[in-house]
Structure formats: C-alpha cells, structure tokens
Symmetry: C2
Subunit: 239 residues, 2 copies
DNA sequence: CGAGCATCCTTTGTATACAGAGGGCTCAAT
DNA sequence: ATTGAGCCCTCTGTATACAAAGGATGCTCG
C-alpha cells in the first residue's frame, strides 16, 4: 500500500509544527524517535519497502534516513538481509560513559573558562528549587529533565566548540535510549540536583578544574545508578 | 560517530583495490580522499550531476556518498545551490584540538589500564630508533608517520572502546586535512618522537595519569607547531 | 533611473523500474 | 534420516524520469 503522493500532509501528528519538512527528514525523525523510545527495540529488523510503506514515503528518502541512522550508530547494515536496530548492552553503556566522561569534563572546563556568569546564576536558582519540583509528581519530573537539558545547553553554548557539541550530541542520543530505565528514581534525582549545583557553582566561579572534577563525580554516580537500575530491571524480569 | 563493530579489517591493506565495492562506496572514498588531499579545497562547490558524471556513477549512489561526507563534517549543504566543501579556519583547528585533547587523554588513560605490555614494548623500540628514520629523507618520514599510525592503533585497541575510537576517527579525519601543512618539519618530528616515547613508557608502566598528562603536553606542542606552520605558510603566501 | 515582480532556469528532492547478490528452501541421493 | 547442491525468491543497489523549490535575471512600472 502506498499513499500515492502526499500533498501538504496536513495534520497527521498532534503537535507536528506544520513545517514543510522533506520526506527523508520526516522518515529520519520518525524512525529515530521510535528507536529512542523503544518502540523499535534493539535487534528489530528493518526492511526498506516495509518501512517506506509504513511511514508513507518512497524507498529513496527512506534510504537516506537509514543512512543517517547508521551514521548515528542507531542502525547497522546486514549483508543481504536488511538492517537492524543496534543492540545496547551493559558493556556498551560502560563504554559510552567512558566517552561521556571525557567529553563532559572538557565541556565543563571550557564552560568555566568562557561562561557568562549571569546565565549560570539564573540556572543556579532553578536548581536550588529543584527538590520542590520533584514533589510535584510526573509533571514536576518532566520539568526537572527539561531543566537538565537547559543546563547542558548552557554548558555547550558557553564552551562554544561545535566539534565538542557534536560529539556530545552523539553520546546523548545513545544515552536517551537507556535513560528510560533509570527515569523517575526520586532519590537519585535529588542527589543529582546537588551534584549539578556543585558543577554550576564551579562554572560560576570560573574554576575549570573543580568543574571537571565535579562533573567526573556526577557521571560516576550517574553510571552507578544506571547500572543498578538495569540490574533491578533484570531481576524484575526474571521474577 | 560510526563504527561500533566490523573488525574484519585484517591488515592495513597496502593496495586494497580490485575489491568489488559498490558504486556509492567508490564515490565516497574518491571524494573523501580528494577533499582530504586538498584536490577539492575548502569552499569548492559540488554539483550532483557534475560529480556523478566525473566519478562515473549515477546520482543515486553519489547522493549517498555526499550524505556520508556531510555526516563526516567534510561537506555542508547549501539551500538550493548544491554543496560545499567545508572551510577549516584557524579557529576551527583550535576547537578541534580541544576535542582531541579530551579524547586522546581518555584513550591514553584506558590504554594504560588495559594494555598488553608486549605490544608497547615493541613499539617503544621502534620509537627509540625513530630519529635515525628521520635522516633517511622523504621515505623515512613516511615510515615515521606509519609508525605514529601504529601507535594510535595500539592505543585504540588497548582502550577497547568502540565509541571512543569512533570519535577519535572523526577527529583524525579532520586533522589529516591540516596535517599536510606541518608535514616534514624535522625539528618538530624529532621532538614529537620524544613525547611519544614518554606516552609509551607511561602506558607500559600502567600509569594512567602520567599517560594522560604526557598526551596533554604532546598535543599542546603539536597544536603550537601546527599554528606556527600556518602562520609561516600565510606569511609565505603574502610574499 | 531605480525598485519590485514575475518568469525562467538550475539544482535538489522524490518516485519507480530494473539488475544483481545473498540466503533459505526443497529435492534428491547416499 | 541427513546432507549436499541447485533453484528460487527476496531484498538491497543502481539508474533514470519527473516534480518542485530557490535564486538569478530581465522586464515593466513608477
């Protein structure tokens, strides 16, 4: 089944933004989100014709989308048997964090050297009141994650290094695949807020080494928490 | 970032050709080499039809090649006016080295922790005799660069982190575009050999911190040398 | 003479038809 | 019953035809 040619695809998605994005872009975004959200779990086989029909584009833009996903490391090619969503094992998570350590520490260093204090002072206030946010249920947790995104954006912007930001984006893409597991652990989130405050203070103070070390500690704790969540998850599945 | 697995690559493939590679792969490799070697300088405009005709493939595989080059950061898309080979300014080089610092230091750390001493002891011997190599003219210099590649490969292998290796590969891709400038500076190469020896010794000793610091120093010197070479080059052009 | 607009042309974006490679399945022989 | 070979069928790789978008140019009107 094909949708023939889509004229001004008006209103299929809820928020959608109504921008006239290209078919390949649409396919890329949809597949990416589906992989990241776990709707297409690790190991899922992708067939060009099948996916093209499902998304409603022809094979050409779909191929472009797959190519980008391969560059992202989210999909791998098989010989003559289509493509697969890449696996993400515990070992891979450890490796990912080794890379993340290097990148985030450098980003924190650069941010401490080049930051606009006003930006981080404003962020500081928000993180101080983060524990209150966490008492507001699911919605508060969502807003807390948004806050973390803002911090990361502020650090990236202050660092002003496109190459570093690009590498970090790649890492964060993979992280978001596993973040669902540890999501919503109140105790951990409260501790994380404290650690983030430490990082912010170091950046405000312009203390690059402290910012790097605080980041190191934070990521160590984060990894520990993630691994524990996975163990717990595995134990629950075994029951 | 790419890679992940695919370790069938046995050997460095000296000539490699005559494999039945796909048209898109051919187009990608050719364009990549041409950009890296400077045959297609920064700012060169690329037109699909034109390049497809030149390389001898149709537009479809060429588009795939361009897409990969965009992922690599070697090419950028223009709105309705084709594609361009990306510019590589002094500022970009500084930024690239900031990322490289983070990655190579981490790689050195991991290598020191996980290395097989025998591999690095063998490399050590070769680097001890590197100064002799440099007296043998252009051919010796070429073998010296191969030696550096071997060291990088050994460090990557010891680190055993595909994500980190992938990020480093991306950085090295961009570096090779500017390496031509500083190539063949005997004084610098001799100093670099000493710095490499220090890194190797730290890895053999299993001293992660020393390996990281030695790498930091080495890259600092390397950047200084590269920037000086560029200044000199610019001065020569101005004459 | 200048500015705004319409048109054309160039170049990318998309669809589809065709070719080739690779694996799985079946059938037969031992 | 098991194993081997050969065929078939599926799926990707490639080529080409068509559509649409964006910019440059020239024309006209003020």
């Amino acid at each position: 089944m094909t949708v023939v040619y889509t004229q001004t695809d008006s209103g299929v998605r809820p928020v959608a933004a109504s921008e006239p994005v290209s078919a390949s872009e649409r396919a890329y975004r949809q597949l990416r989100v589906e992989i990241l959200d776990g709707e297409l779990p690790s190991g899922t086989g992708l067939l060009e014709v099948e996916q093209a029909a499902r998304i409603g584009v022809s094979r050409t833009p779909l191929r472009a989308a797959i190519a980008r996903l391969i560059s992202d490391g989210l999909v791998a090619g098989r010989s003559g048997r289509g493509f697969v969503v890449t696996e993400i094992s515990v070992e891979r998570i450890r490796e990912l964090y080794e890379l993340r350590q290097a990148l985030e520490e450098q980003a924190a260093r650069l941010a401490a050297q080049r930051r606009d204090p006003a930006v981080f002072l404003a962020l500081r206030e928000q993180f101080v009141s983060a524990p209150e946010l966490l008492r507001q249920g699911e919605d508060g947790i969502h807003r807390y994650y948004d806050l973390i995104d803002e911090l990361e954006l502020a650090i990236d912007t202050a660092g002003a290094n496109p190459y570093l930001v690009g590498a970090l984006d790649a890492v964060r893409t993979h992280l978001s695949r596993i973040r669902r597991l540890a999501r919503g652990n109140q105790t951990r989130l409260r501790a994380a807020a404290t650690e983030h405050l430490l990082i912010i203070d170091a950046i405000i103070a312009g203390d690059a080494n402290l910012a790097a070390h605080a980041t190191h500690v934070h990521l160590h704790q984060s990894l520990t928490s993630v691994l524990a969540a996975i163990d717990e998850d595995a134990a629950n599945r075994a029951d």
